[in-house]
């Protein structure tokens, strides 16, 4: 197997872990951890494609940097949302906050 396939399979593994965690976790914090796993897989696939194919190397690396910036912004916002939800509902379990009023 060539290195490109190996790196992409690793990224795919991270995506699979993330999707599994996102659907099986019962708290918002656990889901946030799974999303970070998936974003890491995306970054790994980007850098592997940039480094090991004829694509322009620097663009792939910049893309990964932007993904990291977005992940940081997303984590900040999710932290604030989790704080508000835990104050308002007294819990961060998804089952407690999935009911609509009406």
């Amino acid at each position: 197997m060539n290195p490109l396939v190996l790196y992409h399979l690793t990224a795919l593994l991270l995506l699979g872990f993330g999707l599994f965690g996102l659907t099986s976790r019962k708290t918002l914090v656990g889901m946030l951890i799974s999303v970070e796993l998936m974003l890491n897989g995306a970054g790994l696939a980007l850098v592997a494609s940039a480094r090991l194919t004829p694509a322009v190397d620097a663009v792939g690396q910049i893309g990964t940097l932007l993904v990291m910036g977005l992940a940081a912004a997303e984590a900040t916002l999710v932290l604030a949302i989790i704080l508000v939800v835990s104050k308002r509902y007294g819990s961060v379990e998804t089952i407690d906050i999935s009911k609509l009023k009406g």
Partner: protein, 183 residues
């Protein structure tokens, strides 16, 4: 001197796959801990292990700047944020960061397995069938080139990510203030 360089190159060729294997083990163990552990602090430690494994893979692809940014941003900032959110959401009766056992756990885990495996299976088939051969590793791109692209042709993306970060930060502060007013 010639011999030593040749020997070192040979050594690097041989060490490539074992080192990749070590990082892969880090990623797999950390990922499994991150998605399976009932204790969210342990899940967070697993996430950090995975992040270090991915950073190692960046080093292996000779992209050291990305690897250092990975350690700085993810391990340094994002995991601290997640740790804060675990710490601040303690349930009144329980410990901080523990997931309770649900009733329909088996069904949920099976459905989650399907949802994780199905895209991985499809994309895995595509990877095995369509992936082009790998080129030998390019020479390392210097930070000067990356910075030049960020302030040159890709300055719009750079500015937009700044706006997104600012909006996220302002939104977080706003949400935090709203919570304090209501109390």
């Amino acid at each position: 001197m010639e011999n030593i360089t040749e020997y070192l190159n040979c050594l690097v060729e041989y060490l490539k796959y074992p080192v990749f294997g070590i990082y892969l083990v880090l990623i797999v163990v950390g990922g499994l801990t991150a998605v399976l552990s009932k204790n969210l602090i342990r899940a967070l430690i697993g996430l950090i292990l995975t992040l270090f494994g991915v950073a190692g893979m960046y080093f292996l692809m000779s992209a050291p700047f990305i690897a250092l940014m990975q350690i700085l941003i993810y391990v340094g900032a994002v995991t601290v944020l997640i740790f804060f959110s675990i710490m601040l959401t303690r349930a009144p009766d329980g410990d901080a960061g523990m997931e309770t056992d649900g009733k329909k756990i088996n069904k949920q885990v099976i459905l989650a397995l399907i949802s994780g495996l199905a895209p991985a299976f499809i994309l895995g088939i595509i990877i095995f069938q369509k992936m082009p051969g790998a080129l030998p590793l390019k020479p390392e791109t210097s930070i000067t080139i990356l910075g030049g692209l960020l302030v040159g042709p890709y300055s719009l993306a750079f500015e937009l990510i700044s706006v997104v970060l600012f909006a996220a930060m302002a939104g977080a502060v706003l949400l935090g203030f709203e919570r304090r007013d209501k109390k």
